[in-house]
Amino acid sequence: MAELHGLQLDDRIAAELPDWEAIVAHLRTRRPVAEVLRQAAAGGRPLVQPRCGVGGHREMVELLRALEPAGPGVLSVTIDSHTRLRHFDTAAELLARNPADLNGYPLVAHGWQRGRELAAAVDVPLEVRHGSPDGRELFAVALAAGLTSYEGGGIGYNLPYSKNVPLGHSLRAWQQVDAVCGVLAAEGVLIDRELFGTLTAVLVPPSVSLAVTVLEAVAAAREGVRCLSIAYPQGGEIHQDVAALRAVRTLAARYLDPGIEVHPVLHEFMGVFPRTRSYADLLILHGGLLARLGGATKVISKTHQEAYGIPDAEANADGIRTAALGACELLDFVRIDEDRVSEEQHWIEREVAELVDPVLNEPALLPAIEAAFAAGRLDIPFSASVHAHSRVVPRRDACGAIRYAGVGALPFSAAVLRRHADLLAPAPGARERSPFEAATADIRYFLDNEDRFHSSTPHRTRSEPPQRF
């Protein structure tokens, strides 16, 4: 293990990096993502950022250049799965053999010099998006490449992204990353740290998402992080989603030092996506509109190829434009039932408090988080990891909003439990569904909406199942 300013790194990777002063000097020459976010926040319209990453370097440069004219505010370097899991050798091997087989850009295998080439290829600044339970090496390479925004956190990049990395390990790995950002911030170099509240992306109740990001944000702030992007995944019911996005700001005001910049980020719908271009485009546009109504600084766009596979550049550029259109002037007239939003926001904030306050009241934050997940007092649905109980059972109510049908050991008050039970009370005479049927229907929500749309007139064609191989 080598060390880069407190960051413990694999020796081989550390050996390739420039020294700390050179890294900082180069970072100072870059336009920080934090500045772009601040501008967007001031302008009142969310900036749009796509996910994008392909294996080959030349292909990645071309991809970024192809997307820039669509007007993203930030571009992504989305990392492949092998690199995320620290299988750097597999990534390097596949890169040598068949780069098109990689589902992202293996930045560690390419090395920081190529990272700088990516950053130089476009005017728009870049963020590294990945899903590494332990993202230290990747972070070091990204820093050396001059990238000023880095996604991830010890909970959100562990539980959805790996099977058996102990939370204690990931939380401490990310603590080191945050501490480096703290050092840099103190030197005047601002790194935007985005927290992945999206989690397993499918039917995540807003308070689960927000509880996780609040805890990660508090942890990051304690290490000196000064710019935080807090991401929430669109669930599909707009009043709930607007409320959740707005709650990001109120929760930040409650739990964080006011000197920290906080940017709510919307991840456009991350579940099973519509299959027809027209309905997919509507959902993408709808996400842009939601982002504006919810006061997000940034929206991560989807594409009409989402159901099929990693999108090509054209579809991705279209997605950026479509999301931006949802947030554009022509729809500024749109009002929403504010009473309903306030009601949702009130309960979301209350639920988050019930989840995080006991943890924050413990003397040591990271062990308290670990213990809470071990006891199921914190939990996420559909966990990939064995380190969350996954006893939370999310269910859509009649309006499509995501409620708790089961809370496992989450320490919710009776009032909260009663509200969810009431909201999920079956319509009188409704047929009982098995848990499997109910989960399937809730997951396929937009697919069913899409089918209903396409078959609402007698002759309209329905969507076809995606061709996947």
Binding site: S81, P160, T200, I310, A439, R468
Partner: protein
């Protein structure tokens, strides 16, 4: 006549490929198979092929090994199947399902190269899974009877 084993005895080994963390389909398929009476040994996400082989060694009567892959890395993640098979392991039907290559337009070659590795069945959707398992089961019963 050899009565086919009742559903209660039907065991399958399920998991998600090595580089892949997509958990939702995995958990739904578990529910689905259990509701059809299967016993599911679920190895979860990010499971190397050798772990599937180890599980099969421990449970040789498992009817099939079911591997999900959604992130596009199916081919790389299953590359050691020929080796394992040559070593006499994983000698049961290997069924792979999900989204089996990178990109939104799929080529026929994506499918072929998985079959070339020795994958026995490819499914895009879990809908047909029980049917497939039943057919394989019936075929094996017939084989035992006539063979």
């Amino acid at each position: 006549m050899n009565t086919p084993a009742g559903p209660a005895d039907r065991l399958v080994i399920l998991g998600v490929a090595e580089s892949d963390a997509h958990a939702v389909a995995n958990q739904l398929i578990t529910m689905q198979l259990q509701s059809h009476g299967f016993t599911v040994l679920n190895l979860g996400v990010c499971t190397p092929l050798s772990d599937f082989a180890d599980a099969h060694d421990r449970h040789p009567h498992a009817e099939a090994v079911l591997i999900g892959s959604l992130n596009g890395h199916a081919h790389q993640d299953l590359r050691t199947l020929p080796e394992l098979r040559a070593a006499g392991r994983l000698r049961c039907p290997v069924i792979v399902g999900g989204n089996l290559s990178v990109g939104s337009r799929k080529a026929g070659t994506d499918r072929q190269r998985l079959l070339d590795l020795g994958v026995d069945h490819l499914l895009a959707d879990a809908g047909g899974l029980v049917l497939l398992l039943d057919m394989l089961h019936a075929a094996r019963a017939a084989e035992l009877q006539h063979g």
